[in-house]
Amino acid sequence: MNLERYNYIITNNFQDYIFYSNGPKGSIKKVIRYTKIGNDPVTYNLAFGDEDDAGIVSDSVNSNNHDRDKVLSTVAGTINKFCDHYGNHFIYVEGSTPSRTRLYQMGISRLWAEVSKDFYIWGYTDGSWQDFRTNVNYEAFLIKRKEFDIFEIEA
């Protein structure tokens, strides 16, 4: 992906990622953690939140730092880094509330042209996992990094 993003720091087990969002609200510490949640197929949960001065992480606050696409691009970058280390497994993403999940859906939709180059994404809606579509609301998402570009050529 060729999108602007923040630099980040990784713990040496490649499961925790930290970066700072900078904007009108100041510098906000963002933390991403990947946790294994299943083996068939191997699936990791991607959780993402703000860490306050007391070291408490949550995503209950809308930080509104005018950098949502840069933040989303940074999160996508961590998926690439995580997959470099652990392999191209399924990654589960869900917001803490339906409205937060909807924000993720809108963010993915805005960046779909770039995001879809690197990742397969499915959304859960109406009782099943479906290929991601930009105009649909989902309850949760599954992401898997692409290994190959598939294209047609004239023989």
């Binding site: 949960n45 939140g49 949760a140 190959f148 023989a155």
Partner: protein, 54 residues
Amino acid sequence: MSVVKKAPVKRKEQDDIIVSDQVRSYAGEPYFVKKAEDAKEFMRKHPLPDHLKK
């Protein structure tokens, strides 16, 4: 006639990343523990269909 080809995805190397043992692990952070438990429960109730597991 067209032929379907596949080639490894080319990715730009991310060279502005720091790996550090000075950063704390968030493994026990309650927010992340709950998120993982919720995710596990969701996947238990709504597993992937077999054709997506391949």
